[in-house]
Point group: D2
Amino acid sequence: MNKYDNAEKKASKSERQEQHKAELEPIQDFHAEPNMTVSRFIDKVRHVGFQSVHLGKAVDIIKRMKQDNAKIFLTFTSNMGSSGMRGLFAQLFSLRFVDIAITTVGAIEEDIIKTKEKFYVGSFDANDLELRKQGINRIGNIFVKDTSYVKFEEIIQELLEDIYQEKKKLTPSQLVYEIGKRLQDESSFVYQAAKNNIPIYCPAITDGSLGYQLMLFKDKHPDFELDVIDDFKKLILESSPREKKGVIILGGGVAKHHALIANLINEGMDYAVYITTAREYSGSLSGATTREALSWGKLRSENAVTVIGEASILFPLIMTKVLNDLGFV
Amino acid sequence: MNKYDNAEKKASKSERQEQHKAELEPIQDFHAEPNMTVSRFIDKVRHVGFQSVHLGKAVDIIKRMKQDNAKIFLTFTSNMGSSGMRGLFAQLFSLRFVDIAITTVGAIEEDIIKTKEKFYVGSFDANDLELRKQGINRIGNIFVKDTSYVKFEEIIQELLEDIYQEKKKLTPSQLVYEIGKRLQDESSFVYQAAKNNIPIYCPAITDGSLGYQLMLFKDKHPDFELDVIDDFKKLILESSPREKKGVIILGGGVAKHHALIANLINEGMDYAVYITTAREYSGSLSGATTREALSWGKLRSENAVTVIGEASILFPLIMTKVLNDLGFV
Amino acid sequence: MNKYDNAEKKASKSERQEQHKAELEPIQDFHAEPNMTVSRFIDKVRHVGFQSVHLGKAVDIIKRMKQDNAKIFLTFTSNMGSSGMRGLFAQLFSLRFVDIAITTVGAIEEDIIKTKEKFYVGSFDANDLELRKQGINRIGNIFVKDTSYVKFEEIIQELLEDIYQEKKKLTPSQLVYEIGKRLQDESSFVYQAAKNNIPIYCPAITDGSLGYQLMLFKDKHPDFELDVIDDFKKLILESSPREKKGVIILGGGVAKHHALIANLINEGMDYAVYITTAREYSGSLSGATTREALSWGKLRSENAVTVIGEASILFPLIMTKVLNDLGFV
Amino acid sequence: MNKYDNAEKKASKSERQEQHKAELEPIQDFHAEPNMTVSRFIDKVRHVGFQSVHLGKAVDIIKRMKQDNAKIFLTFTSNMGSSGMRGLFAQLFSLRFVDIAITTVGAIEEDIIKTKEKFYVGSFDANDLELRKQGINRIGNIFVKDTSYVKFEEIIQELLEDIYQEKKKLTPSQLVYEIGKRLQDESSFVYQAAKNNIPIYCPAITDGSLGYQLMLFKDKHPDFELDVIDDFKKLILESSPREKKGVIILGGGVAKHHALIANLINEGMDYAVYITTAREYSGSLSGATTREALSWGKLRSENAVTVIGEASILFPLIMTKVLNDLGFV
């Protein structure tokens, strides 16, 4: 037994936080192959080093959390609803791959808009004053017409009136559920969530155009109420300390934090995958890694990885393999 | 008139979004000076190039928004309340430099804890499993004892009981105000805000330990209610389209978005300074620049700048100069 | 013709730098499919928005530069040679997909080491003092044994002796060629480059362990010389202003800048794809986008895109599709 | 002795890499003060948390390395020479605060240009096609006229002719020294380095406009030679294993790596301060932290810190305090 054999053992011991293998794996050369599937691609590229390694671990951990029947929380930020990831969210809900979703209200709004309107591929470098004159709003490199938001206002007031006839007091997640039920559009993730009984929590329900519409609606119907404390209780009761729990967290913000706090109260996550562009050096929760979660007891396991990168590429890549390998597609 | 004179004119025209000067300024060499004040430092370093230029513009714009009597919105993320920036927030409220604050609930919680407990300088590279064993929670490189959060639970339940005796239904910003009034600690920004009638909005009031405490409290007092729609209306009515409005946005998240949405409804900001580590390439609202805000009409002016960098250094630096130059300190 | 039709035209005009399409494309929902190939995956995901759009454009532009018979420059940083991307570089050279490579000396060194030694998948969070004791060097999450570098010293001195018998004065790229010829390992990109007559430029040839070995070698053989000025001339003459030229730039540093300067002297690139994690706000060349290259005349075309993200995932993803679609694999 | 006292001890033990204090320091609230000096500002802000803590440590370590008479290496990237940090570099050389400088050739070129020409404050959002038409080159938000580079070509050919009359063979650092001697401009850091016998190493001497000028010059004078191997030896001999050595590394690239390799060969740095915007997740040397340097033996001490942020603000801030506190200004 040489010096390095010792090194391997000790190094892997000192790193148990990130690594749960007894032996170090070699870095392997990647070669492109004809008609390579996404599944095989990830099996190969994960030995390249750097974030490709984390990509591979993310696939493993998501597969493991599903096979272990963990309650799965999926969180995402508003911009991801603006993007075509909306389709993947709808698919995950229709497949009942996840159990609980948490997001910000912009994602809900834009999912609703898309049941009637198109968004467009634009450019980060567009002249924003020009866009303003043309009635186009920019979300990174996605363009949305002013008139699409006008459409939203029409749709949502009708929906609120209809819901109000049934219930005058709801929690935010119940409101999203009631909206979803009424959308009748298979491409909508809000609809698919309602159809498949997957609750969508939205801890800052007024933080968007919906806030303004709710305000206008309540001016007409002062007895309309949203109970945020009851929604928090509902979220806490979605899982329990005894259950296995996993999270898939895309980006940061309150959607991320809400999943972590719910899991902390229930004694910690068993599986965690974060995909984010935020970095930890500013001390923000958005940039906090799965490692930091250990100190809090938010995480009670080594089945965790943070993949640094942009979700619009990485999440479809990961889920194409996971759904394929587990036979969901 | 030579070719370059033309270039200057045309270039400055094509850049009116970011630049409002008729002539290009030269880059100037920086030299350290004895006993240099922060104010003089920024006057000099702003000609260095790159983000130092934005630092100088941020100072100009904040001074201008104050001198123009704009309604000033200050937003910050939870981690900034965990840090010693808490003191600067308290100072800004006691000086009535800002008019409206928006944050996430973690900042409120940790301000309350700090009225009784200390936080510690730790390390980003700490062993989180070790910390867990020692009962220490990590926020970047800030360490907080488990027992400090236990203390929070005691304080908050007492405060809630006391508030409940007066009011059974509040908006989140009213709750924060009532908490603030009772803290009686000059170092607390929640207290200083209440004392100086500066509302603190918290669009995701349940997104933290407070959420759990509210839940427990409501189990005992089912008629206790928080009205988030009314709080949104209250926020919208803080300003109006006719008024001048400015924002100082530290970091991203719902705190940022809430300020933008409130200003959008009131026909746009006249002054905007963003300080952030988030970048725009992922299309997130957190990374969206002041330029993107133009397309939406969130911003109706050229008095805007995004400074890329970490607020724990940049915001104290900027405000030390602004408060000094305007005679607030 | 409605208002929006106008908007489309004007917006697309004002963005010709980034976009060369007459009409805005809609954002499209992504859905995972069974046995999805990488090629189909990219065809679908490119309509999602954000960096996925840039991913799709990168594929288009690389295909176009190849089909247009452009001289193709590939640049990469040292860490990419440390990773399993080495295999893809070797493949691209053996397929003669690229014409000129530029890198830093660490990539050459580690390619040579790998003809004899293995690198290992480690962890970013490893305890570096522990690793030091175990004789392991860390490159991000790649581990390399001290003894592997000792091996390098033996190999390189033999190679230098052998080359010196033939030539006492070389340019750095000639030295890399002579080393490559002697490696006789199909998995080595330095070997494949030599075998296929693809020059590898290394503008900072002493910036690594090789620098020290060259120094020791020259102590014994004072008439051994490396001519860096001649190598620059050789690089400039690789292409000409009349030729079509394309670059694929992974990461930043001198490898990136050297390709840009060579193309600038030859009146600009016709095709450019940058893949990088560096951002432009610091004014560094590493973070400079393809847009900035326009001002210099480094780029003379709209066939350019910057994809923000980590190359260990993105470059294999892109090239798997490009090589497949063009029939190279 | 309570549980937390134990925690403090163990936590600080487990973090010895980053922290060398026996007790955890409390986070302290920051307040702006009238006429606050930079020195007092940093004394206060360093207790705020996050990067402000690293800022404070950077000051301590640079003071310590100077007081300990360490050989001090300063490295910086090309863009920093383009910026007004040039003045601070000149000041540090004229004060003989540092002993050895390493940079890329763009910094040398632009320092030379600035002896005759002005650079201008521009905008990151400028229209680059417009700039191209106007003959303006963009470096982030710094604008440089085409004619300034034409001026460089005139100056450098004259300088090369003059140097060539004295010496036909030089190392790159000798060439920079000979250029510096001839500039006769107190504001130039290349001049101040020569005047004060501080060598400037430039491991990729051809990687810029100078490369082209050297090529043209050598076409006329084929016996003109630059010896890069001898320059590496000269660098290695600048210090020794027995000496104390410190580095101040601004940004990444070959300038950073060259300082590290030189120190590695001499058994490691005793003091290290990195200021960078690059992050470690891509495994690049540019993003590698001082912690990673431990595994290699590049660093042999705990006197090391990485400050994440943009050098155009942070480095002037740090050095204003260091020079002031040590009585250099």
